[in-house]
Point group: C2
Chain length 277, copies 2
Amino acid sequence: MTRVLCRLAGQWQDDWPATDRGLHYGDGLFETMRLSAGRIPLWPLHQARLQAGITALRFPSATMDDVLQALETLPESQRLDRYSAVKLLLSRGTGPRGYAIPEPTAINLQLHLFDAPQWRWSGLSAECPGLTIGVNPVRLGRQPRLAGLKHLNRLEQVLARAEFQPGWDESLMLDDQEQVIEGCYSNLIIRRGGQWLTPSLATSGVNGVVRQWLLQQLDVTVTGLSLDDIKQADALFMSNSLMGIVPVARMDTTSYAPTSETLDVMRALQTRLESLF
Amino acid sequence: MTRVLCRLAGQWQDDWPATDRGLHYGDGLFETMRLSAGRIPLWPLHQARLQAGITALRFPSATMDDVLQALETLPESQRLDRYSAVKLLLSRGTGPRGYAIPEPTAINLQLHLFDAPQWRWSGLSAECPGLTIGVNPVRLGRQPRLAGLKHLNRLEQVLARAEFQPGWDESLMLDDQEQVIEGCYSNLIIRRGGQWLTPSLATSGVNGVVRQWLLQQLDVTVTGLSLDDIKQADALFMSNSLMGIVPVARMDTTSYAPTSETLDVMRALQTRLESLF
């Protein structure tokens, strides 16, 4: 059961304009969020990332107020409490042809309401103790001005997703200097030598909300990581807003057998995350 | 006078779907083309670039047939011969949420009909013998899988356009290794030491149709170019489909005073280009 609601320049409407800059240039942002009884428990983290994007893309300063008003004035028949997830998409609206930012700008906004999948760790079993992943052949370009943001230029992810081999649940994405950055649709964290480590997202990648939440809960070192660092890790976990935190059982020819202590730490965090919803 | 026509999965319609992958991921391509009496004189070059994009993005093999059929079956009241330019936008259509390519794929297509501006060289005068440009602070990320293509992920150009200083007509874009690649909305070619040189687009940039046409008319060396190479050039020209070929008078603190021989060669090519329309 899925429902799309559009709010164009402050008015709820059914259709999306063909001249929208989100379509023509990817000039926009999005957030995919789990809901709980109509609330967005991790909203502060989603909001912070969205605000970082609004600032980096030079959206109008009133954009966040527009977003908050939209969430509060949803048509009665489409209330958030009927769904368990929402994708919020924000574009710089319509304007004359060309890259120049229109003045004034009237933001367009879309809410895609849907039912979230099960937290992914819940679906694992003794026979299938974690994800099977590979190394994606698509390399991420480096763009510090967009790094960390969840913007609408996602062709690298579309190309990367099309490279998945049979049996892969996810894949590691490296940048063009062979640094490991993230998964195709998730972030990663490793346990190695008694430390928690996650890649720096200074030049590419999406700063996931569950990644940020983990950085608040655990003592994690943010650093450069090579593929060898990942292969030599004692444990590897992937995370995103919909699947939560989930262990990797196998990456390419490397198998991971995390200690029960490491698994217990992460399982406890996953349980704490679920308890927010 | 502007008109937008949408063709969704083969049917002419008025609106664009909110769930289109062009909007959500920039999963599509576009071409901006000058018209002449309803024809597209440089169509073979536009078609070749579009086909390169269709192949690189793994669009269905029948996509080009869809495009040709759309151009041939335009509603009578919106014939191409009433306009002097058209922007063709192509997306991978709608599908389930997520980056995976939908199977089957039904392409969405949009024609944006408008009146082209004057060829830009025509507007120059003795007092204003060429463009004034600067060096853009935004650097292009390198992505060989998308280089050369006119795809819908154009946030770098939006950010770059917002960095224009007062008086700039265009700006040079360098990649993250400080190689000069292109303008924000055009390509470049220089005259230096008796040679024509233009940057390689192997890792970033858009392979413009007028650039390709110039490569057919002139003996041009495609090579890496630094900002020093540009500053030490005898002449600098920018090109795109709408403005044609146009000299640069000033780049930052560097002034260009091309020899009359160099100007004559390029003016003759601009005249030849105009004669196609």
